[in-house]
């Protein structure tokens, strides 16, 4: 009896040790992820901070690192954001609203649904090739901002649709019933109640999707966004460059100075991205408070 019990106790101690080690392993690995992010940010900052000045932001790219800047890339990226937003937000939100509120839940809706989730998994470079074949060559839009914005819109549409649908789904059924019972049609209900109630969620999803678009490089390379652009685009049909393209261009050069310039560009890009994400979170929290 006694020896049996003792054995059991030993066993339990070993099992507890195992559990403790496993727990420490999991925690360690998780913090390693956070650590990697820290290393990445530190590395970028250390390399790039000394190049970040007014001259860097207001100069065109140059063969000479000390004269080079991101003016055309930054302006190109801003053009892209606005144009992508104008194309993708109305279409994406309209699709989500149609699928959730208006369509009869039949085969057509199911087909679109499956289709969208598969589109979300298509590699971005494939969108680039399609953009090249349709917008640049097929429709003859050339290597313009418009081609870039349309290609990117196709890329983020599934993301916007999925996020908007999730936001719309969180609107309580009772609100819709209240509106229907007053003799409202589906569209009146969707427009006056469902859309406003899901607005914060949609906005958050849209901003996150847009921030994905401005970091994407591969599709823009495919449609041939120029890497040396010493002018500012003045309209949607002008050729352009964008921040990630400029960064890619600098990283792929062998000289150390250009790598540091790339780091400078990355800092600007990350600041833009973080600002957008922070805005999304801020808007969400503010509207949530208002609703409560």
């Amino acid at each position: 009896m006694n020896s049996d019990l003792k054995l059991a106790n030993d066993n339990i101690a070993a099992r507890h040790r195992k559990a403790r080690i496993f727990r420490m392993f999991c925690a360690g690995v998780t913090w390693m992820g956070a650590g990697l992010l820290a290393i990445l940010l530190i590395q970028v900052t250390v390399d790039g901070i000394k190049w970040l000045d007014y001259q860097f932001l207001t100069s065109f790219p140059s063969r000479f690192p000390y004269k080079a800047g991101i003016k055309s890339a930054l302006v190109g990226t801003l053009w892209l954001i606005v144009m992508i937003a104008m194309v993708s937000i109305p279409i994406g939100v309209a699709t989500a609203l149609y699928l959730e509120e208006l369509s009869r839940k039949g085969r057509f809706a199911k087909l679109i649904e499956i289709n969208i989730s598969n589109l979300a998994g298509v590699p971005s470079i494939v969108y680039g090739i399609i953009g090249l074949a349709i917008f640049v060559r097929g429709l003859g839009l050339e290597r313009s901002l418009l081609s870039g914005a349309l290609t990117m819109s196709l890329l983020i549409l599934p993301v916007i649709i999925i996020a908007s649908r999730e936001a719309i789904k969180t609107v309580p059924m009772s609100i819709r019933q209240a509106a229907y019972a007053l003799g409202a049609t589906r569209w009146q209900t969707a427009w006056a109640h469902v859309l406003p109630a899901s607005f914060p969620g949609i906005l958050t999803g849209v901003i996150l999707a847009l921030s994905r678009a401005i970091g994407e490089t591969a599709p823009l390379i495919m449609i041939g966004a120029l890497t040396y652009v010493a002018f500012l685009p003045e309209g949607p049909m002008d050729s352009f460059t964008a921040l990630p393209i400029q960064i890619f261009n600098w990283v792929s050069r062998p000289q150390q100075e250009f790598h540091e310039l790339a780091a400078g560009g990355i800092i600007v890009l990350l600041i833009v991205l973080l600002t957008m994400n922070a805005t999304a979170i801020f808007i969400r929290q503010k509207t949530e408070k208002k609703l409560q």
């Binding site: 099992r15 559990a19 496993f22 727990r23 999991c26 925690a27 690995v29 998780t30 913090w31 992820g33 956070a34 990697l36 990445l40 590395q43 970028v44 109305p90 279409i91 309209a94 699709t95 149609y98 208006l102 369509s103 087909l111 679109i112 289709n115 969208i116 989730s117 598969n118 589109l119 998994g121 298509v122 590699p123 971005s124 470079i125 494939v126 680039g128 090739i129 090249l132 074949a133 349709i134 549409l157 049609t185 589906r186 569209w187 009146q188 996150l208 994407e216 490089t217 591969a218 390379i221 495919m222 041939g224 990630p244 890619f248 990283v251 790598h259 790339a262 890009l269 991205l273 994400n277």
Partner: protein, 312 residues
Amino acid sequence: MSSSKSVDMQQMRDIDITKKKVRWGEWMIESSLALCATISVVTTAVIIFILAKESMGFFQVVVPADFFFGTSWVPLLEPSSYGVLPLLWGTLLITFGAALFAIPTGLASAIYLSEYASPRTRSIVKPVLEVLAGIPTVVYGYFALTFVTPLLRMLMPELQVFNALSGAIVVGIMILPTIATLSDNALRAVPDSLRQGAYALGATSYEVTTRVVVPAGLSGVMASFLLAISRAIGETMAVTLAAGATPNLSFTFLESIQTMTAYIVQVSMGDTPAGGIAYQTLFAVAAFLFVITLILNIVSQWILSKFREEYE
């Protein structure tokens, strides 16, 4: 009695409920929304049509067997050769290396987040992982080239400047958050009653996690692996920058290789005229890439939909 009702109301209401109104305004709105919804279907159709059409042109010049089983990829120089295996191999090498890194770490992070972390820790760590997922891939390329590779070369002097190892590591870092957050969702969906049942039998937290929680959430975890792998296969910028542009069929992480995506970038950087065989190789490779990722996505969605049935 109805005389007590206001005159305004009487005008407003159509007392005759049989008069079925055709609401033209709403019909127009609904139709245009439906039109927006079809854009996604059209996009898919266009992707498939264009990839198929240009690949068809490619396969009129190159025998499919030579493409799928050829071991040499020299498309831009004479004598040309169009065996996709070296590119596929490069992609697989990167994906394999990335998965080797990201699957254990991602799963461990997911377990930590769902089973061990306090709500407060969770609320810090999860956004950090999401930020990691939101960093543009070109930044990872920069990180590989200026940090990971130099570091590795200090340890392994024989390592080439462009090498598969560094590419695999950064792609691994990139897909880690995907695995961690999606697996975390899957593990958290496992009902608490299962955990409590196991604890009540005297199991330790390690035993509960590895023998009860992870097996119960396995389908969701597997789906996250597949999605992450599909992302790794489609990943472009980091491998273009870090792993080089040398189609290579040898099993080595130390040399320069070329992935399918990196090849597409390489060709499109030059000004390829439309219609030529070089232009068509882009579509053949992209079509191959599209099919592989599509299959992975469909399988992972299928697994996920089965998973939903289990707990809802």
